[in-house]
Symmetry: C2
Subunit: 298 residues, 2 copies
């Protein structure tokens, strides 16, 4: 029997939270600790590789911690960065092939001061939480009907090439504010002028944790809704997007479960569908499971 | 030093999720199982009391289950109901003093068929999840400024007398749809005509679990926003409310942390503040902690 839309969407949410499922590597993972704070998860295999750098990493009591003399953000970032460069040159960790020279901040909670900075491509090795910004671009016609702008990622993107995406999105690099990142991504990816991008409204977050052969991905996306004038058309900017589509919301809803969407972008749209009453709790059997699946912080 | 608004709100969320905190009775609780499904939590003290009814309840392997011959929704509801009536008459469980003759459905997930029905006042004894509907009533003036209708609960209400509440709210009794419950509560509590109440828009859920001396309360509230004409005034209906106030949204925000609010209603308003961009992630340090605290299903 064909799975229903609801069942397919539930499967997508389970897949994007597979680190929480029985049998995931969570059971065998070691905590990654910096300055006594639990900031990530390391698999035993990775812990083995990191043991080659006893001046940087030390395993103790179910955790991998940084050496005690690395007592500042700068020292930690530098020492870990050097170890990662060496691992990258030896080709030990496949995810480091995706090195981007983009630094992410490492902290236990978003509101905390960064304990260190880490190359974006390495965060999954340490199961460090990554933050990003996603923008739902939508318009409403005279009858109130919703349509949404959907991007198709370039075929040359490192991750999820050719998949459908939100109007604009990007990771939060160390030291950048959420609003700044939003305006920058809107400009770069979709040629949306700053004056328009600034009208985007923050509406919450989604949080989830998945794992694959490249590591553990605990992610939190700050979600924004940007209502666009009906005559506005995004333009291809820096080449991260190959096309923009403007679809009625029910067409977007169908596309979410067709394997065409980058999965976390599908989650951002699902959150939009719930907040904008496109999905209703009396008719959607998994309504509560959907909300729960969009909010599973580690 | 005085705690900030953000810190007080975080404390409220922690208190409303105290069943998840270290030292809660979660560590010693037994699972409450019906037909092999895990539907609640029972403290060892309650398990002891239930052991007086061996024809109804049987403890086994860290769980309290119903007797195997109770093999239908009707049989289970009847047998458990009779045991509860006996306990009520003997005054063994304080929460049963609040008996309301209102039946709640018991199931592992909201989308499942009910496994049994249970008196509302008894659900906390079994740590069974309760569902409800809460309505944010708000208006927007010509400049787009938000104001919200807040109810003050009657001083004779069984729970949280005299506290501030949402415009209307109510528990989901067995067999009632969410929309039906919403329309009914709007009419009964605030004299909102059906034609207006039906305009309420579903916008998600909040989920949390707290415990107190009366038991364990895992709750999920279906949240609705109802935009009201600026000239609309709710009226006192069935006497569950003693007054309605119409406050600018920033005044409502301040009130949330003043111990005046019924705590789960404060959570519903917090969710509103986030979805309507009254709180922004670059300026609210606990933004992500707030979202997480509003979504902690068991």
């Amino acid at each position: 029997m064909m799975a229903s839309w609801s069942e397919k969407m539930l499967q997508l949410l389970l897949r994007m939270n597979n680190f929480h499922l029985p049998g995931s590597s969570l059971e065998t993972c070691l905590r990654f600790e910096v300055a006594g704070e639990h900031v990530g998860w390391v698999t035993p295999g990775v812990a083995c590789i990191l043991a080659r750098f006893p001046n940087v990493f030390c395993a103790r009591g179910g955790a991998v911690a940084l050496a005690a003399d690395l007592d500042s953000c700068e020292k930690r970032s530098e020492a870990v960065g050097a170890a990662l460069q060496e691992l990258r040159e030896h080709g030990c960790l496949t995810c480091l092939r995706g090195w981007r020279s983009e630094k992410y901040a490492v902290m236990a909670r978003y509101c905390d001061s960064p304990l260190m900075h880490m190359e974006r491509a390495a965060t999954s090795v340490f199961g460090v939480k990554r933050y990003g910004v996603h923008i739902n671009g939508y318009s409403r016609d005279g009858d109130g009907n919703l349509s949404m702008w959907i991007a198709r990622r370039s075929n040359t993107k490192q991750t999820y090439p050719g998949k459908l995406d939100n109007l604009a999105a990007g990771g939060l690099a160390a030291g950048c504010s959420i609003k700044h990142t939003l305006v920058k991504e809107c400009q770069e990816e979709a040629c949306i002028p700053e004056s328009l991008a600034e009208k985007a409204r923050p509406v919450g977050t989604i949080s989830y944790t998945y794992e694959d052969e490249e590591g553990v991905f605990p992610e939190c996306q700050f979600v924004f809704d940007l209502e666009l004038p009906t005559n506005f058309r995004p333009q291809i900017g820096d080449g991260e997007v190959q096309a923009f589509y403007f679809y009625p919301i029910n067409k977007v809803k169908e596309l979410l479960v067709c394997e065409e969407f980058k999965p976390n972008c599908a989650m951002v749209v699902l959150d939009f569908l719930i907040r904008h009453s496109v999905i209703e709790p009396d008719s959607e059997p998994y309504y509560q499971e959907f909300v729960a699946g969009l909010h599973r912080p580690l």
